[in-house]
Assembly symmetry: D2
Homo-oligomer: 355 residues x 4
Amino acid sequence: MAGNTFGQIFKVTTFGESHGPAIGVVIDGVPPGLELTEADIQFELDRRRPGQSKITTQRQETDKVEILSGVFEGKTTGTALAMIIRNQDMRPKDYSNIKNLFRPGHADYTYFMKYGIRDYQGGGRSSGRETACRVAAGAVAKKILADHNIRIVAYTLAVGDIQAKKKDYTVIEKNIVRAPDLEAAKLMIKKIEEARLNCDSIGGVIEAVIHGCPPGLGDPVFDKLNARLAYALMSIGTIRGIEFGTGFAATQMHGSEHNDTFYMDDKRVRTTTNHAGGILGGISNGEDIILRVAVKPPSSIAQKQKTVSMDLKDADIEVKGRHDPCICPRVVPVVESMIALTLVDALMIQKTIGS
Amino acid sequence: MAGNTFGQIFKVTTFGESHGPAIGVVIDGVPPGLELTEADIQFELDRRRPGQSKITTQRQETDKVEILSGVFEGKTTGTALAMIIRNQDMRPKDYSNIKNLFRPGHADYTYFMKYGIRDYQGGGRSSGRETACRVAAGAVAKKILADHNIRIVAYTLAVGDIQAKKKDYTVIEKNIVRAPDLEAAKLMIKKIEEARLNCDSIGGVIEAVIHGCPPGLGDPVFDKLNARLAYALMSIGTIRGIEFGTGFAATQMHGSEHNDTFYMDDKRVRTTTNHAGGILGGISNGEDIILRVAVKPPSSIAQKQKTVSMDLKDADIEVKGRHDPCICPRVVPVVESMIALTLVDALMIQKTIGS
Amino acid sequence: MAGNTFGQIFKVTTFGESHGPAIGVVIDGVPPGLELTEADIQFELDRRRPGQSKITTQRQETDKVEILSGVFEGKTTGTALAMIIRNQDMRPKDYSNIKNLFRPGHADYTYFMKYGIRDYQGGGRSSGRETACRVAAGAVAKKILADHNIRIVAYTLAVGDIQAKKKDYTVIEKNIVRAPDLEAAKLMIKKIEEARLNCDSIGGVIEAVIHGCPPGLGDPVFDKLNARLAYALMSIGTIRGIEFGTGFAATQMHGSEHNDTFYMDDKRVRTTTNHAGGILGGISNGEDIILRVAVKPPSSIAQKQKTVSMDLKDADIEVKGRHDPCICPRVVPVVESMIALTLVDALMIQKTIGS
Amino acid sequence: MAGNTFGQIFKVTTFGESHGPAIGVVIDGVPPGLELTEADIQFELDRRRPGQSKITTQRQETDKVEILSGVFEGKTTGTALAMIIRNQDMRPKDYSNIKNLFRPGHADYTYFMKYGIRDYQGGGRSSGRETACRVAAGAVAKKILADHNIRIVAYTLAVGDIQAKKKDYTVIEKNIVRAPDLEAAKLMIKKIEEARLNCDSIGGVIEAVIHGCPPGLGDPVFDKLNARLAYALMSIGTIRGIEFGTGFAATQMHGSEHNDTFYMDDKRVRTTTNHAGGILGGISNGEDIILRVAVKPPSSIAQKQKTVSMDLKDADIEVKGRHDPCICPRVVPVVESMIALTLVDALMIQKTIGS
């Protein structure tokens, strides 16, 4: 209800503020007997952590995870799995000058209107730092999916108007912008550096593909798999849109063109095209699930901006702190994690249906 | 869990199949003392019902609603409100020839893979007929929102490549495609009729604007207002994408351009632009909430198509029945309803926070 | 949240008022492929229905059930199962004289304080009539349990100070008080008739035994199987207490006496005694689950009583209508149903845990 | 679903094992602006902690709580409140000799059957140590209730056959058994010491009274206030039964005696008696809510007992470790906490109903 829990059977609850003592996550509903170590989690956290390259924020957080419960002798027990990450490189003083100002594009004003409380230190709970907990939980979910031969790949498809032309998975982790095209990656990095030099930021598009999803996942009516995925992904603060398969381009197509016709491929039912993006009537059809999300340009920029103060006066604001000029490279593992959480949940719900 | 319930406090559960005896909805969490009659519900159902114009399916359903519980002497009691609509113009025989074939673009194959059961009569539970129940529940939600001066307006923004150029709310209900621009409406209707004559169908875009939403609605982290809205709207079978505010266009913008700066408008905090679409950090900021959804071309077309049969052989299929060449005009009230359900829930959750 | 839904995966939502047009139930999460007819439901409804014997209320309701959705060609589809029962023998006029008076022992006053609305016709939603929907849902649950060889037996153990001395299951449905002891049944019936002649009512104890429950059902910490059962059973309006196994008598025992020691019975782990009533640490251990509930004397009695009116004045009240002098015989199937709903839910949750 | 979460709006999720690194709790749904310090929590934890007197276990845990999130500058922020307690006096070696044996009366066997995993160190997650987290959450709930003038008092009413004769609240915290009667307390303590000297344990009864509960709390049908309280309290591992008001004694009463008649007390509606225990139709009526729970004798006793081993052979077991001969005094704050959590949730749900 209060928003900090995701999932129906594989339930993830996160907590923690950007500049508080720690952030953390509790997962209830982890299946027992899964081999799990802190190293499994750390690997994914390192992909998201700040300070990983010249085009990310320079806040230094090792994001070292500690498992507090739910694992015994190297295996999950089936009871609540809790993990915490101590904050280290807090600089609350960076925020003292904006204590009474609402940062444009951030949640400062809306949280204050909702709760009547202002945690001015880096946005408190509204900070993107919270997504580290999603990635920690996502690492557990990915291990479960791997046992089902389900693989999620996400990458930066575009930064500003620079679009990846190839989709070469092998290069994604070999360039700091996480694009599937090294040529495009160079241009994207240049674009991001330009933005930073101009005290500005830039948006982009992330695409994700789910390989190996069996037919039958997702539920009818309200809990369609695409609805759950849209919910999961739109909950990432920086995302402003989502589309599946052909997406918005489908609005200009005719049914005769858009319909994916079925055919038998050896003994398997396949579709000749995949405009639907792997989901029919809200339920996976066994084809790759394909989606794209729109990532807005980060709101924290080093320029002076107009705003208002808590005493309701027009004011100027200069946001210090250490920020990302383009958040795409760090959002890629968050996108994967939210997809992983959604799919594990769908797998578990499906278990309740079979005889 | 099984997908037929929406909402956290204002909880809507729908049931019923396209060609079964009845469809219906139970709403738990309706506030007591709300004046409510069947006429209130019928008004909205009539906007969605089949056979309303020459560009919609010719299935004749009056969609007459009966309130079974939750209203006493004209007012809601605070207990479960149940409504049913008897199906009337069922023609299950229309489907006998496709009993063993999976319709392309429909959920026939995926439901069968999920449940091992095939209700071949118009898709059974996967039919769009289910959305009548959403509209019935939405009518109740809209009455509650009206008491809070919140107004939702949705309209067909585009059909294929024909785009509305004006946004004149007064004409929306005066043209059968529900566009806010009478000139564009004519072209859209022409486009739809062409599609039908070609035994084909066409997609479109619906835009919705929420006026009067107070700041503070929505919850942090996973239950952001845009995440809940994306979940609500993507659960409408025909929708393939959603974007808020500037949406996908934001991916090509710089932060300095995209950030909506605050200013004081008399005693109210406003933003100079509204790229965010009325939501910051997942919580409403008091500006209009603006979103667009991508509506795919209907999958039921009167052409012969390739498919496979339940005994896993390649086959041809001809889908009879009575279908919509463009579903936009009938989805407009469904979009409004899903938004209304989401907002009423958010309003009620917000009530738990205030002192 | 608003109270009309029970269960986590097998979710039951009921609706309807005592003297409204109909009562009904929606079950979401019914497994697909279960053979189900209206006759299956009717059998259980007939055990609960009013007017079934001289010691029950004389309100005549056939409680004829209609399945509206979720069943196709005689089998469940896996989607929402809806059933309604039209009310027939409504006599709202019986209540016109108490329109402004709060009946002692009933929910009239508390519902009014909660909702500010008064449905004076037989208590509206607070009527025991609502339990017919639990029995309808319970009939579905029992069919599922039967497939797992789980059997629930409930019976009237005591009426006032008359206690059953034998536990002969074969006679339970052969006496109108549903006692497992024909000798005791005669005395119980006499006790009940005396109460009725005195314009009074009498309480009793119902015991239930669950045979064949496999070890491992129930969840740790808050969702212990006994906690879920207590919740389920205490939600029956007439029940004032519950105990498992040795129950309150355990408070006077020593651990050395109360502990059920384990032993090997052929290849099965058994306990020598069953003080725990089949549940250890909230999880079933494979022994019979045994529980007892305290049933209060019905509040509707044909005597003049003191009360207050809606305009807050002291007053006398005479409750007319047709009432049960002892509710035990009709609560027996309700107790079974609530247990069945709880167990099916626990079975489904357990499915999510296994590999 | 997996059992570690309690509550609907004020949602409490606990985690941690008896001999793991830490236990903890996350509360989602705490209202913003509540003044809260670690000292507020510690006060209640100290009432539950082990080693507090000669009649409790001698395990030495200071149970020092650390708040990780949800509090900013001394006030709750409205976002997830997380607290952890590091375990200190772990002696996993105490359990090495029972690694392969199922302790009678404990959850060792049932957890193993459920999860296929054995955490033999003090029962792992099934340990009563988990209740410290309930008390930490309960401390927050009590602060909220205090602002509504609602006060919960619980006490040991009986130990074995020794019954308190007075109900003097002022002495409860002045005797180590937490009885409301100093004379009875002496006899109870003697009884407990005898049990311990005999390498045995003893049960008891705890009574709780809720003062100041306004009319209107609790929900109809399944979420009756007594149903929610029964669920909450029966989830405490040591509790085997619960009764409200007159409870099981009501089964031998007539309606004319049991009905609490209403009268006007100045301008307030009151009942002459309180057999219902403050709840009518599942909703509070403004009278004191009164309930009693049956506490079983602790299962850990220092005697040799019969059992079976994990390789399914009959065996003897001697349970070492440090245990409570009677758990009543330490369960009193746990009972209060579970009641507090239930009431805060009910209060918040009620907020959604008012206009």
